[in-house]
């Protein structure tokens, strides 16, 4: 039983670390702000989830596990808010994303047509 738990938490910790590294690599390789947001969301969901899950398996059914669950829930609740605020602020500051396909027809929700030069 102990053995199985150890192997499982090895797997989760390694997967979490690997996803963190992938996200960091994406941070360096992506061409503009909006695409880097996607790399960060990989870190903040899968990397964080893998590492916290591995730690929970090591902690067992204790207060430490409860605190780890609270940390995971808080990150999952706050990460999209921060990401959305960043994307909106970048758009309002006039940084336009590099697009291959623009399906909005130049119309962005919440903006007047006239202000969209």
């Amino acid at each position: 039983m102990e053995m199985v738990l150890d192997i499982l938490s090895w797997v989760f910790l390694l997967a979490g670390g690997a996803f963190c590294l992938i996200g960091g690599l994406g941070m360096l390789r992506m061409p503009d702000v909006y695409t880097r947001l996607h790399a960060v969301s990989v870190i903040e969901t899968l990397g964080m989830g893998g590492i916290i899950l591995g730690l929970i398996l090591q902690a067992g059914f204790t207060l430490v596990a409860a605190k780890l669950i609270i940390i995971a829930a808080l990150i999952l609740l706050t990460a999209p808010v921060a990401t959305h605020a960043l994307a909106q602020a970048a758009l309002h500051a006039g940084i336009l994303p590099k697009l291959d396909h623009d399906k909005t027809g130049g119309h962005i929700a919440g903006e007047d047509e006239s202000s969209n030069s």
């Binding site: 992506m30 947001l37 969301s41 969901t45 899968l46 758009l91 909005t104 919440g110």
Partner: protein, 136 residues
């Protein structure tokens, strides 16, 4: 032990607040808890699928991204439902909701396929079902 004391304390504070009539339905959407039991595992599975896709894109040497902006219509009725939908979009790697007004969300997707999947509206329907009858 500590957890039990904490739970008792927060329950007491909630009781006091409701007696002082400080509570409203929007800040404490506790009626959603029952449906959250199937919604959260579904969302986590979606995140895992999308996350592995984005990881493959990052790791492939040619970096095959095709960034797309798309407008999506949210069919939820309440503010809680629309915010849940926008947050679900942002939480899923590969799609970020950039701008939101009334029931129209502008989404930035990292690939064209991701944008088209979102435009099909599967996630929209699931979130609508999650919001359900208990809407404000």
């Amino acid at each position: 032990m500590l957890m039990v004391i904490g739970a008792v304390c927060s329950f007491g504070v909630a009781l006091l607040a409701s007696r002082m009539e400080l509570l409203d339905k929007e800040g404490h959407p506790i009626y959603l808890l029952g449906r959250a039991v199937w919604f959260w595992p579904w969302l986590i599975w979606e995140i895992i699928k999308a996350g592995t896709d984005v990881s493959k894109i990052i790791l492939s040497p040619k970096l095959p991204i095709s960034p797309t902006l798309i407008n999506v219509r949210a069919s939820q009725k309440s503010a809680v439902g629309i915010v849940t939908y926008a947050n679900s979009i942002t939480l899923t790697p590969g799609t970020v909701s950039v701008e939101l007004e009334d029931d129209e969300i502008t989404v930035h997707a990292i690939t064209r396929d991701g944008a088209e999947d979102l435009a099909e509206g599967h996630m929209d329907r699931v979130v609508s079902r999650f919001e359900g009858e208990g809407a404000l």
